[in-house]
Symmetry: C2
C-alpha cells in the first residue's frame, strides 16, 4: 500500500494503473475510519482492479465555529485498517495541496445544498461538491463510493456528476450501525458516555417511523411529529431538523411514497451534531 501526499505523485501512480488497463475504485473519506468507511472500501475492492482511498479533512465543508479542529484524526489507525484491506493507494494531501494560496473556485448544486443539513450548515455542500469534484478530477476513477448515512451528500454528488457530465459511476452503500442501532460516524468518538446513550434517540425514532410506515402511515407531518416526540423523550438532546423530502429532488413532500422518500434527521448531543436517515426508494 502506497501513501501519497502530492497530486503529481498520485497522478504518476495512477498512470501506471491506467496503462495496465486497470479499473480504479475511489473512496473519498475524512479519515478516522470505521466499519462504514471500510464497507465502501470492501465494495470498491470487489468491483475494481485498484482501489484508492483519500483521507482529507476538508476545511471548505466546515463553517466558522464548526468542529474542524475537533474532528477526530488518527492516521496510524487508518493506515493499519486500510493495509489490512490491501488498498493500493492512500491519498493523504495537506490542505495547501488541495487549496493552494489564492484558491477561488467553488461548485454548487443550487437549492439542493440549501435544505436539510444545508439549512444549518450554509456553505457545507459547496465545500463537499468542490472537494469531491477536485478529487474526481485528480483520481479520474471508474467508480466512486459514498455512504448512505450522508444521504443528502450522496444525492448531491450524483446530481453534480450528472449535471457536469463527469464520466464516473457513483455507488452508494448502506448505513452501518453499532449493535444497538447507532449509525457509525467518526464524530461518535467525541461523545461522552452519557451523550452516547442518548444519541440513540435518533436511530430509535427513525426505526419507529419506519414501522409506522410499514403499517400504512403515509402522512409526512405525522411522521415528523412522531420522530420529534420520540427524540424529545431523551434528555441532553436537541433537534436540529427532522424532514421528509423526495429522494430525487430533496423537495418537501406531504405524502410518503414507497419509491421516492428520504426521512432524515439531525440532532445535537452536547457539542456533537449527528445525522441519520432511512430511504424508501434508491439513491
Amino acid at each position: 500500500m502506497k501513501i501519497i501526499e502530492t497530486i503529481p505523485q498520485l497522478r504518476e501512480e495512477l498512470r501506471k494503473y491506467k496503462a495496465q488497463g486497470n479499473t480504479i475504485g475511489f473512496v473519498p473519506t475524512m479519515g478516522y475510519l470505521h466499519q462504514g468507511h471500510l464497507s465502501l472500501v470492501e465494495q470498491s475492492k470487489k468491483e475494481n482492479d485498484r482501489t484508492v482511498v483519500s483521507i482529507f479533512v476538508n476545511p471548505a465543508q466546515f463553517g466558522p465555529g464548526e468542529d474542524f479542529d475537533r474532528y477526530p484524526r488518527n492516521l496510524e489507525m487508518d493506515e493499519r485498517l486500510l493495509k489490512e484491506l490491501a488498498v493500493d493507494v492512500v491519498f493523504y494531501p495537506a490542505v495547501k495541496e488541495i487549496y493552494p494560496g489564492g484558491y477561488a473556485t467553488y461548485v454548487e448544486v443550487g437549492k439542493w445544498g440549501n435544505v436539510l443539513c444545508g439549512k444549518s450548515r450554509p456553505t457545507h455542500f459547496r465545500g463537499v461538491s468542490t472537494v469531491v469534484l477536485k478529487l474526481l478530477n485528480i483520481v479520474s476513477p471508474t467508480c466512486a463510493y459514498f455512504g448512505r448515512k450522508d444521504a443528502q451528500q450522496a444525492i448531491i454528488i450524483k446530481k453534480m456528476v450528472k449535471d457536469l457530465n463527469l464520466e464516473v459511476t457513483i455507488h452508494t452503500i448502506p448505513i452501518v450501525r453499532d449493535p444497538d442501532g447507532l449509525a457509525l460516524s467518526s464524530r461518535n468518538a467525541n461523545l461522552s458516555p452519557e451523550e452516547r446513550k442518548v444519541a440513540l434517540s435518533l436511530s430509535r425514532a427513525l426505526e419507529k417511523a419506519k414501522t409506522e410506515i410499514a403499517h400504512g402511515l403515509r402522512d409526512a407531518s405525522a411522521i415528523k411529529d412522531l420522530i420529534r416526540k420520540e427524540i424529545d423523550k431523551y434528555p441532553l438532546v436537541t433537534i436540529d431538523y427532522v424532514e421528509v423530502v423526495s429522494l430525487d429532488a430533496l423537495e418537501q413532500i406531504k405524502t410518503i411514497t414507497l419509491d421516492n422518500t428520504l426521512v432524515a434527521g439531525a440532532i445535537w448531543a452536547g457539542k456533537t451534531r449527528l445525522i441519520d436517515n432511512f430511504t424508501l426508494g434508491e439513491i
Copy 2:
C-alpha cells in the same frame, strides 16, 4: 467533417480518436464564426491530431434582458468555414442537451467573476465557467483554445482549470482585428453603419494608451482618464467601464507593470456592447 448533436454520439466518436492515441484540440465557440475563431481552429489543427469545435449559444452566460435572442447565428456559414479548415467534428448541441430539465449545478471563480465585465453582467462568468467545465468534461481534450479579446474569460478559465485540477492545457490566441483596428466580434454584425464607425473609439483609445505607456506613462488613473477622454470624443458611444488591473488576479492596480497588466474597456454602441483590451505580460 462530422456534425454531432448529442453527447453520447460525440463521446463515441471521441473514443475512436483516443483509441488511436490521437491528441484532441478543442475550440468552444458560440458560432457566427469570424477570423478570430478561425485563428483558434488553425492553431488547434497545428498542435493536435484531431480538432473539435463546439457551436453553442450558451443561455447561462446571458443575463435577463441581454442579447441572447439577438445574438447572431448562421450554422450554414459556420459549417462551410470549418469544413474548409478540415475540422474533424462540429459539436452542435441543443440547449436541452446541455441543460436538461432540473439542471442545478454551477461553478464560480469567486471575485474573479465580479469585476470588469462581471460588474455589468453579474451571472455572466458563472455561465461561462459552467459551460466550459461541462464541455471540457464531455470532450476531454488535450488542449483547448480561447481568444484574448475575452481576456477576463481566458484568465478565469485558466484559473478554474488550475483550481479544479483539470488535465487540459489552455492556450490563448491574440486578438484578430479588422484593417482599421476594430477587434473582431460576432456582435459586430449587429452594428449599424454609423455604430460601426464609432465602435472604433475603443480600439483607438486603447492604442493611444499603449503608445503613452511605451513613452513611459505608468500611472493607471492617468491611463484610464486618457482612454475615457478619447472615447468621449465619439458620438453615440457610452462607456460601460475602463479598468487597469493585474493579469494574475484581476485586482485594480495603481502603477502599470510591464509584465502583469490588463487594460480593458467595454462600450455600448447603440444596443450593442463591445469589449477590447491589451495586456502587458502573458495571460
